[in-house]
């Protein structure tokens, strides 16, 4: 199968401290891959490395990122710009801040279309309207004329999904796209992403801390802890036979739709300590840069 995204032994440091410790993962075409972990595990760093928008202090020490078979780890700014938005798109985390407050919705969908496809005003507008239909926005003509502050969080996230799918990218990075929304809207948004992804056969790297979300929409998954991969495999396998104690602990700490009243257990302290020790040992083996 054709891997849209293949990350191999990626090691990244920030100010000399290891934040990703040889992370490898692959997202085949048409698959949704969950990247799971607590905050600080390095999920977002993986996403930013793929998009080439790492913080200024971050350094890629070793490893490779390949998109659609081509190496993109150290690509020039210019090449990357041609790729972003068109080949790889992002669904950002917080719909309240990800839209530009000074421009109408239409402008923010149309600009990416015009930039990458050189579409004329009318053609781009027609496309935008079509996209609005696809993300199930009622009264799309009106919404296109509105400013972000006039829309609800759920509506804004739909607009952002429309922007992400606008150029029909092969890979979408979804960075906790439902975290900032309330539960009912969350489910609609997830269903929408899944629906569009399946129709377009898009590969999705779905970054989240929520295993419940992973169970709902992902095919395969990787569990990160302290920048290390602790578990990977198909979602069924990971859920039925978690290989690592940390995955089991995460599951116990995740609320379930089918058992809302069940008590949640925090990750045991001894396990956290062990994992921290392992990370330290890793640093010792590889030199703490």
């Amino acid at each position: 199968m054709n891997d849209m995204l293949a990350i191999e032994a990626l090691r990244i440091t920030i100010a000399g401290r290891n934040v990703l410790r040889d992370v490898s993962l692959a997202v085949p075409q048409g698959h949704v891959h969950g990247l799971v972990g607590e905050s600080g595990a390095g999920k977002t760093m993986v996403a930013r490395a793929v998009l080439g928008i790492l913080p200024a202090a971050a350094r890629v020490i070793s490893g490779h990122i390949a998109f659609d078979g081509a190496e993109i780890t150290h690509m020039s700014e210019r090449e990357r710009r041609a790729l972003l938005g068109r080949g790889i798109a992002l669904i950002p985390q917080d719909p309240m801040t990800a839209l530009n407050p000074a421009f109408r919705i239409e402008h923010q969908i149309v600009d990416v279309l015009r930039h990458h496809f050189g579409l004329g005003r009318t053609a781009a507008r027609a496309q935008a309207l079509e996209l609005m239909h696809q993300v199930h926005i009622r009264a799309p003509e009106r919404v296109l004329r509105q400013f972000p502050h006039e829309l609800s969080g759920g509506m804004r996230q739909r607009v952002l999904i429309a922007i992400a799918f606008a150029c029909r990218p092969k890979l979408i990075i979804a960075d906790e796209p439902s975290t900032a929304l309330d539960v009912t809207v969350q489910r609609q948004v997830l269903r929408l992403i899944k629906h569009l992804q399946a129709r377009e056969n898009t590969a999705v790297l779905f970054v989240t801390h929520n295993l419940g979300v992973v169970a709902k929409i992902c095919d395969t998954m990787t569990v990160l802890h302290a920048g290390r991969v602790v578990e990977e495999g198909s979602v069924e396998a990971c859920f039925e036979r978690p290989a690592h104690a940390y995955t089991r602990a995460l599951m116990a700490a995740t609320p379930r739709y089918d058992q809302p009243a069940a008590a949640l257990a925090p990750v045991p302290e001894a396990l956290s300590r062990d994992l921290a020790d392992e990370a330290t040992a890793w640093d010792a083996r590889h030199g703490a840069a």
Binding site: A82, G85, D94, T97, L99, N100, D111, H115
Partner: protein, 335 residues
């Protein structure tokens, strides 16, 4: 909504104007110097001076003078200039266009220069260009407008005389203006010799006025841009594949301009105030130059007229500023 805002502003303008009129009136009668004595000259007899004093109503009690003065003001009558013996309104309208043209030209220069500097500094962040714009801002801010004027006269007018340094238009060119706005009018009437002559004379005074304001705009806009560049929507713009220049100019600039407009507008009123000295330095025949002559000659009606005119300009400017906010920031439009 906007109509109500304007109406409220207009209503508030009246007490402001009353205050200005009162302060000018009192101030001018407290400071030493007898306008009538100056006007009549050293050869005048006491009887003549008394007669003139009566003619201009300056022998009546202060309260009565003020009351009469207010009555005139309400009718748009600023009285008659003591030195020029012409209606003050006429004198002001003759000079006002020159000052308006100078101020607007200076403002345009300041805004253009300020935005260009801020954008350059943001685009080349962390490089030499950023430090250069910072240095320029500090320098532009530290040197006041009239000093810039003197520097320009010295360098571009005297040492390397490339630009004329006085007047508004070459006196040998005949140009009768209907609006008094020489630059615009000559351009649209196709009299390009007049246009060039006017332009070459307005550049230096305008630049003197513009530089300090440009420095302030550059500084505030730069920090506002730095903040905007950290926002999520800028990250999304990068991920859309847009280039850095486009992101700064289109996605960031409009958001960053909102706080800058407020400041620019306030500073613009200072710029208009600055025209008084700069016009004097460049012998530019505007309102400010006339104001100084009026003060030197103790021409009370003229001083009052000029000050009230400036007050009116400031009030109008402030109203305009508030209306611009809504245009730039869509969130304020449906308040």
């Amino acid at each position: 909504m906007i109509g109500r805002q304007v109406a409220l502003r207009l209503l508030l303008a009246f007490p402001t104007l009353f205050g200005v009129a009162l302060i000018v009136f009192i101030l001018l009668r407290v400071v030493p110097g007898d306008p009538i004595a100056m006007m009549a000259g050293v050869t005048a007899t006491p009887e003549e001076i008394e007669r003139l004093r009566g003619l201009y109503g300056l022998d009546r009690p202060l309260l009565e003078q003020f009351w009469a003065y207010l009555g005139q003001l309400v009718q748009g009558d600023f009285g008659v200039s003591i030195t020029r013996r012409l209606p003050v309104t006429e004198l002001i309208f003759e000079r006002l266009p020159a000052t308006i043209e100078l101020s607007l030209f200076a403002m345009a220069l300041a805004v253009g220069l300020g935005i260009a500097l801020a954008v350059a500094a943001t685009y080349w962040r962390g490089r030499a260009a950023e430090r250069m714009t910072d240095g320029f801002s500090a320098f532009g801010l530290a040197v006041p407008d009239f000093l810039w004027g003197l520097i320009f006269i010295l360098i571009l007018g005297v040492l390397i005389p490339v630009l004329p340094i006085s007047g508004r238009v070459d006196p040998s060119l005949s140009f009768s203006s209907a609006t008094g706005l020489y630059l615009i009018e000559s351009f649209f009437r196709g009299q390009f010799d007049v246009f060039v002559s006017t332009l070459s004379r307005i550049v230096l005074p305008a630049l003197s006025l513009a530089l300090p304001l440009a420095a302030i705009i550059a500084r505030v806009l730069k920090s506002s841009l730095a903040e905007v560049m950290q926002q999520d929507y800028i990250l999304l713009a990068r991920v859309k594949g847009f280039g850095r220049f486009r992101i700064v100019m289109r996605d960031a600039l409009r958001n960053a301009l909102v706080p800058t407009v407020a400041l620019t507008a306030v500073q613009f009123t200072f710029l208009v105030g600055g025209t008084v000295l700069v016009e004097r330095i460049f012998s530019f025949p505007g309102l400010g130059n006339m104001a100084i002559e009026a003060v030197v000659n103790r021409d009370l009606p003229l001083i009052q007229g000029v000050v009230i005119t400036f007050a009116l300009i400031f009030i109008a400017l402030n109203m305009l500023i508030d209306l611009t906010y809504g245009l730039l920031n869509p969130r304020l439009r449906h308040g």
